[in-house]
């Protein structure tokens, strides 16, 4: 790891110390907050020559927020040895409590997993995220970062419950060489971004609870910005339509997270449609002494037949596209805001079968 990156991560940690739970409560009615989620990972995999693109050996996710009256500014800066990205930067106005209109780069609301965990590894019980929920720069096949406007609202329903509505409209990623390329707020942008419309309608049995279930929708118009992709796809654009349902249910000590997506891909130039399904079920159980065990099943249908999905497989020695995975692990929150996690998984990818063993230390600072 270059010293430059180590310095950068240490700087973030150091910067967070004076902010430790300050959340300034001054009379100017402004508040600010700063949080760093850090994780380090060790990996051993059979049939794989290297750690996957989704698995940096160390990463830091720096989250900062500022609230003044009804205005909010919020950002998430993600740092790994290979990547430094302003993943989210949003400016919002809260019309009434829990109804916010945001502008900026955001995580699309039609992902059941990413809208809950974002890039912060510590808040995720397990180490890996389901393959269908991968980020664009990890060869993820669903657009996740949209630049535009995001509307979020939560309303009481019944005695204790609530309904949550989220809708996003903006510029979708472009389809470049074996990866989706979202708008980069601080780097170069080759352009070719078209429209993305995404949404979620969720029911929360308790307004302030952690459980929810709902429906997901996304439509992304992806333009092809690479000659190789154009040759493989034989189309200069692909229209992705996503329909999904999810449940994230917590009844301590149990938690169940499940999602299923149906994705339709329309290749405009050759007038061809293809579709596939992908879903997962994760069950977690808290144990005494702050241990949590978890298991996850991922499965898919027709992904191996999809020309669109095949685009993302670059045969570089790691696994980009998994058709199925079974994962089992244990997490130990051995002290406040620090955890050790071990995860064992068996993966069936487009080209091979593989077993993986991962160990991770994760923390939230301060």
């Amino acid at each position: 790891m270059p010293h430059f990156y180590l310095r950068e991560i240490l700087l973030c940690v150091a910067l967070s110390l004076p902010w430790a739970n300050v959340a300034h409560a001054q009379h100017d009615h402004s508040s600010s907050d700063f949080e760093v989620f850090v994780a380090a990972e060790a990996f051993h995999g059979s049939q794989q020559t290297r750690l996957g693109d989704a698995d940096p050996w160390i990463d830091a996710d720096v989250v900062f927020g500022l609230t003044k009256h009804q205005f909010r500014v919020f950002g998430e800066y993600y740092i790994t040895p290979d990547e430094r990205d302003l993943e989210r930067f949003q400016m919002g106005f809260e019309f009434v409590p829990e109804t916010v209109l945001w502008f900026g780069r955001f995580h699309q609301p039609a992902s059941a997993w990413n809208t809950e965990h974002h890039h912060g590894q510590y808040l995720q019980t397990d180490i890996t995220r389901p393959y269908i929920e991968r980020w664009e720069d990890e060869h993820g096949i669903i657009p996740q970062h949209i630049t535009g406007a995001l509307f979020e609202s939560r309303h009481s329903m019944g005695k204790d419950g609530a309904v949550q509505i989220s809708g996003g409209v903006g510029a979708a990623p472009a389809l470049s060489d074996r990866a989706l390329e979202a708008i980069d707020l601080i780097g170069d942008n080759p352009g070719r971004h078209r429209l993305s419309v995404t949404g979620r309608l969720a029911y929360l049995p308790q307004y302030v609870g952690a459980s929810s279930m709902g429906l997901l929708y996304g439509h992304d118009d992806l333009s092809v910005s690479s000659a190789r992709t154009l040759a493989s796809l034989q189309s200069n654009a692909a229209k992705l339509s996503l329909y999904g349902a999810y449940i994230d249910w917590m009844a301590e000590p149990w938690r169940v997270v499940a999602a299923d997506y149906y994705v339709d891909v329309a290749l405009t130039e050759i007038n061809r449609n293809e579709s596939f399904n992908s879903g997962y079920l994760q069950v977690e159980r808290q144990l005494p002494r702050r241990f949590t065990i978890f298991g996850r099943l991922e499965d898919s249908a027709r992904m191996q037949e999809s020309r669109y999905v095949a685009l993302f497989n670059d045969a570089d020695g790691d696994i980009e596209i998994a058709l199925r995975r079974q994962a089992l692990g244990v997490r130990w929150d051995y002290t406040r805001r620090q955890a050790l996690t071990f995860e064992l998984s068996h993966i069936v990818s487009l080209t091979q079968k593989s077993n993986e063993l991962r160990a991770q230390w994760s923390a939230a600072i301060p």
Binding site: D33, E35, T67, Q70, R72, T115, Y207, A210
Partner: protein, 146 residues
């Protein structure tokens, strides 16, 4: 027999005349300058879980009392109804999801009282005995008693 009866009468009288101990009441507090007159249980729970709660247009600020372990335990059990780990992760999650500001925590009761007095939008909780005679503090209601 008369000895037992006398003891029983004495115990009954002591129990009847003993004032409700202020030390055994956890109360919801704001600054005496605050416009807030009342908050129901759901609003209190929303507030301490980091959601937006307003009163007459003012956004309220939650202040956590971590001055003693028992207060923290009662807060977790009776106000937010969560385990320590789940509460901490819920608050962190709100920071990560929406950039919501985490509640401020004080480990010293004098500092907490000063913070509440200084900010008319601050809402906290404390043992009644620590705030009952402070005219700068307004007690909204009893959250818990033993």
């Amino acid at each position: 027999m008369s000895k037992i009866a006398a003891t029983a009468v004495l115990v009954t009288l002591l129990a009847a005349t003993r004032p409700v101990s202020a030390a055994e009441q956890l109360v919801l507090i704001v600054s005496a300058d605050s416009k807030v007159e009342q908050l129901d249980s759901l609003e209190v729970r929303k507030l301490f879980l980091g959601l937006t709660v307003t009163y007459n247009g003012d956004r309220l600020r939650p202040v956590l009392d971590e001055a003693d372990a028992r207060v923290k335990k009662i807060f977790l059990q009776n106000i937010v109804s969560m385990s320590d780990t789940t509460y901490d992760r819920s608050v962190l999650r709100l920071t990560l999801i929406q950039g919501q500001i985490k509640p401020i925590a004080y480990k010293d009761i004098a500092q907490l009282i000063n913070a509440v007095i200084a900010d008319p939008t601050a809402v906290s909780y404390a043992w009644a005995k620590d705030v009952a005679h402070d005219s700068r503090i307004k007690i909204l209601r009893v959250l818990w008693y033993d």
